[in-house]
């Protein structure tokens, strides 16, 4: 068991879950760290993450003699703007002028910086407070240095922008003048820190930039840290790492999971100009964790030569080694799951008597929903450079989870962690793909063959679509009992998907708590009889995180079904949804069997029905819900709670005579509690809306005989400009200081596809129970 497995599981499961899971002998827990499992204390949030949090100012903030403030960013930047937003927090608390702030990217060093695993929409909610404290500590050290220099009590000095002032005499000293003296002072004890009052904040929580199509004409808007570099082509992504003497590799990977090279003829490939070497690279049998697939690597003097060399390979694959993965075909698998959904499976939550409720129902509503495999497809395909020299490995890579990359390299090379350095580059998109460092481990394996020379492994788009860790395919079957008033009296939901757990242990075939907890067993409706079941589904390809993960099928099914129930009851969808949610109340997700709360304390982060109702009410109000729509046009609504945030969306959709879908307007009400950088929150929600429209309209990876039928953007379609809503309005709800901070990157995505499907129904009368919509409307 490699260490990366430990960090993975710890990242996704709270410690109480370990204790609970151990008792039932869950397969996932076998891979967990026993020392932590036996710890009695239950920890939540950043505290529960491997490496925890760090708030030492000397780790994150340094000031030079000119007063330039350098903030270390230790989280992965993949478009969410964390390099800007965390630095804004530090600058605000410190009193730095944004123009004097620069950001430096940390290497992978969890012991020094705390947790760096950038997934789960956690960066700001876990790091806001530590970063405030680090900056407050740095500010107090500057103040102490000034007081020492003036020989006055520290109470008589205060910090203004870029300077400390003596209140009695109006003397000032700039940050640059104080930096050297401040640096050697003791770091103030945590209990002696004084955070700024809200009224003193200049950046945090301020609305700037583009707000619903209108530019806030605000000259003091802090420019994004990487903005200028991006628009001038200077930004350095993983793909852009340039080193002297570098070799370029592409790898022919097994077409089916588990297949092995039977024979290889590389005569032609060797003759391609620029090809340096062809070598077989080891794969790991499932459960492989993050270890790579193996295959045949073509190492060359440039990328093109490597690609041409690979085309010239003749490989005979041993498909028998792949077992039944070699017959994995999506259409048949869908039918298998749909059939299995007709009978009971493992019960994960039960209250009341659903069977009786269904039997006594005045009306029953039943529907089965299908969501296919999808590829994350970040615009920058996986890529990594590794150099091995004198027993030390150095990697440059766009990774969401740098520690897992470091662990993986150490394990595959059999060297100590201290001898592995991982340099974090910008990520050209992540969406969960780059939380798996398999591509870095591939580069490490190859670099071992070329001591001293950097080796880059470049994935082509075909590699990416065929060999990613796919979003799980899923079938969800729902059955509801309605009484004579149309009120729901029973709710039976069966969900079937292969589990990400299949990467780390013998295929559990059931979803783990961190998968069920993504909107399935946390289903919030107030219905007397509820039974939630999770029948078996085996994995036949690599399954992995995709932005918002299992929230996607759960939200699609539940939010589509709620609309179907409303229709059966003859009620307005919005009114019916509010009725299903019931009275404002708070639910503790941990009270459910296999309950899971994104690792957060349920006392601070209960599921709050009041907040759910509020986003539904806001989105529908802004969208003028209930207005008359022209023929072929309609409004669709969906809401979902995920990553401890709340999202509701209304889409105004037209379906034209040819079946083309045009999204005229999106109204998104979003409650992530307190906000730091609303401008970037809005951009995340806008982007999630576009991605969700793509999920609804055309994103599908289907398998035939174990291989994918789509290999590039010609057939694996992701949204284009024409698919974007003509207008997007993001309405931030509850963004004041009173509500705890929730996630931002992912929670905007789950309700988009069901809202679109519900709008299609409003426009055409056709229910979409199988994604993507594809040509179902033509």
């Amino acid at each position: 068991m490699s260490k990366s497995h430990d960090s993975l599981l710890l990242a996704n499961v709270s410690r109480r879950r370990f204790l609970k899971g151990l008792a039932v002998g869950s397969a996932l827990v076998v891979a967990a760290r026993w020392d932590l499992a036996f710890a009695e204390e239950v920890k939540y949030g950043a505290e529960a993450m491997p490496g925890g949090w760090v708030d030492n100012p000397n780790v994150f903030i340094s000031i030079d003699g000119n007063g330039t403030v350098t903030v270390i960013n230790h989280r992965a930047e993949m478009g969410q703007g964390i390099r800007t937003s965390l630095a804004l927090v530090a600058a605000d608390e410190l009193g730095a002028d944004w123009d004097r702030v620069r950001v430096e990217q940390a290497e992978a060093d969890q012991d020094k910086y705390g947790n760096q695993n950038t997934d789960g929409s956690r960066s700001m909610r876990h790091w806001y407070e530590p970063m405030r404290r680090a900056a407050a500590g740095a500010r107090q050290m500057l103040e102490q240095a000034a007081a020492n220099q003036w020989g006055v009590p520290v109470e008589e000095v205060e910090t203004r922008v870029q300077e400390v002032v003596h209140k009695g005499s109006d003397r000032t000293l700039g940050f640059g003048e104080l930096a050297a003296a401040a640096r050697v002072l003791d770091v103030p004890a945590r209990e002696n820190l004084t955070l700024k009052d809200d009224s003193q904040l200049r950046y945090i929580g301020r609305e700037t930039g583009l707000v619903n199509g209108e530019l806030k004409n605000d000259n003091s808007r802090p420019p994004a840290i990487d903005g200028e570099d991006i628009v001038t082509g200077k930004a350095r992504f993983g793909a852009d790492v340039q080193m002297d003497d570098m070799l370029y590799a592409v790898i022919a990977r097994p077409p089916v999971l588990g297949a092995r090279v039977k024979s290889l003829d590389d005569t032609k490939a060797k003759n391609v100009p620029g090809v340096v070497k062809i070598l077989q690279t080891e794969g790991t049998d499932m459960p492989a964790g993050f270890n790579p697939l193996g295959g045949v690597a073509v190492v060359a003097e440039n990328t093109w030569a490597a690609i041409r060399g690979r085309e010239a390979l003749s490989i005979n694959w041993d498909l028998e080694a792949a077992g039944d993965n070699a017959s994995y075909t999506s259409e048949a698998y869908r039918q298998t799951l749909e059939q299995r959904a007709e009978s009971s499976g493992k019960t994960v939550r039960e209250s009341g008597d659903v069977d009786k409720a269904l039997e006594n129902a005045d009306q029953r509503v039943t529907a089965t929903y299908y969501m296919p495999h999808m590829a994350q497809a970040p615009m920058e395909p996986p890529v990594a450079v590794v150099r091995i020299k004198n027993g030390k490995a150095e990697a440059w890579a766009p990774v969401q989870h740098p520690r897992a990359a470091r662990d993986g390299i150490a394990a595959v090379l059999g060297i100590d962690l201290e001898n592995v350095t991982v340099h974090q580059t910008l990520l050209g998109g992540g969406f969960g793909r780059k939380s798996k460092p398999d591509f870095v481990i591939e580069a490490a394996r190859l670099a071992k063959e070329f001591e001293g020379r950097p080796v880059r492994v470049q994935w082509t788009r075909e590699d990416d679509i065929r060999h990613t860790y796919f979003h799980a395919v899923s079938v969800d079957r729902l059955d509801a009992a309605l009484d004579s008033d149309g009120k729901a009296t029973g709710w039976l939901h069966r969900t079937l998907s292969p589990s990400i757990g299949s990467l780390f242990a013998e295929d559990p075939k059931h979803k783990g708590d961190f998968e069920l907890g993504m909107g399935f067993n946390t289903m919030p409706f107030d219905i007397p009889s509820i039974r939630l079941e999770n029948p078996k589904a085996a994995a036949h390809t690599r399954i992995g995180w995709f932005r918002a993960v299992y929230n996607l099928p759960h939200a699609y099914a539940i939010q589509s079904f709620a609309a179907e129930m409303a229709e059966a009851a003859g009620k307005d969808h919005r009114d019916y949804l509010l009725e299903l949610l019931g009275e404002p109340r708070q639910i503790n997700p941990e009270k459910f069997e296999d309950g899971w709360n994104y690792g957060e304390n349920p006392d601070i982060y209960p599921i709050d029905i009041g907040r759910m109702r509020a986003v539904v009410e806001r989105a529908t109000k802004e969208a003028d819900w209930g207005k008359e729509s022209a023929k072929g046009r309609g409004l669709g609504l969906a809401m979902h709670h995920s990553f401890v945030s709340y999202t509701a969306i209304v889409l105004d959709v037209e379906v034209d005579d040819s079946g083309e879908v045009i999204v005229h307007r999106a109204d998104i009400a979003f409650d992530c509690g307190q906000t730091v950088n609303p401008e970037r929150i809005r951009s995340q929600l806008e982007g999630a809306c576009v991605m969700g429209i793509g999920i609804a309209l055309h994103s599908e990876v289907s398998f035939k005989d174990g291989d994918t039928e789509q290999t590039n953007f010609d057939r694996y379609q992701i949204p284009r400009m024409v698919n974007a809503p003509r207008e997007v309005h993001v309405h931030l709800v509850n963004s004041g200081k009173d509500a705890p901070m929730g996630g931002v990157g992912e929670p905007g995505l789950p309700p988009v596809a069901p809202a679109l499907c519900n709008a299609v129904f409003a426009a055409t009368g056709k229910r979409i129970r199988r994604l993507p919509i594809g040509n179902q409307l033509s």
Binding site: Q80, T232, G233, G274, T303, M691
Partner: protein
């Protein structure tokens, strides 16, 4: 040897005739602002200008670029329209991860040079070949409109 003019400078490259311009720019000339996204002209991340026209460098062999002016994102700040496009991008906070944005800016700049007042459907038609997985299309659209709207004042 292949002789290319890139951003006004002459380059002599020892590469095969059929090497896509994309890989020549990135691996040989070391201009990495032009990105690899798909290799089959489906995503636009590799967009450059050939004699002012937006082209997908991933399917353009270097032999097809001989004798033509190749312009990449690295030279857009020196271009009057390109500079304004970049500024609009910054002002509206268009980019998220930023990987595709060089290609987006190259396509947008070529459009605006050819048609300084594109209407909504002309913008969508021109930009539809440029993918952005972060989904920044609304802001890309708004930024192009902003440059177009300020045409008279410039």
């Amino acid at each position: 040897m292949i002789n290319l003019t890139i951003n006004g400078q002459a380059h002599e490259l020892d590469v095969p005739d059929d090497m896509p311009l994309l890989w020549a720019l990135r691996d040989v000339v070391k201009l990495t602002g032009t990105k690899f996204g798909c290799g089959i002209a489906q995503c636009g991340a590799c967009t450059v200008h050939l004699d002012g026209t937006a082209m997908r460098s991933c399917v353009t062999p270097v032999s097809g670029a001989v004798g033509r002016e190749i312009t990449t994102i690295e030279a857009m700040s020196d271009d009057k329209v390109g500079k304004r496009v970049q500024q609009a991008w910054l002002e509206l906070g268009v980019a998220q991860c930023g990987y595709c944005q060089g290609g987006q800016i190259m396509t947008a700049t070529a459009l605006l040079k050819q048609n300084s007042k594109p209407d909504a459907s002309e913008i969508r038609d021109a930009m539809n070949g440029n993918l952005c997985r972060c989904g920044t299309y609304n802001r890309i659209f708004a930024a192009i409109e902003q440059v177009s709207d300020t045409e008279e004042q410039s």
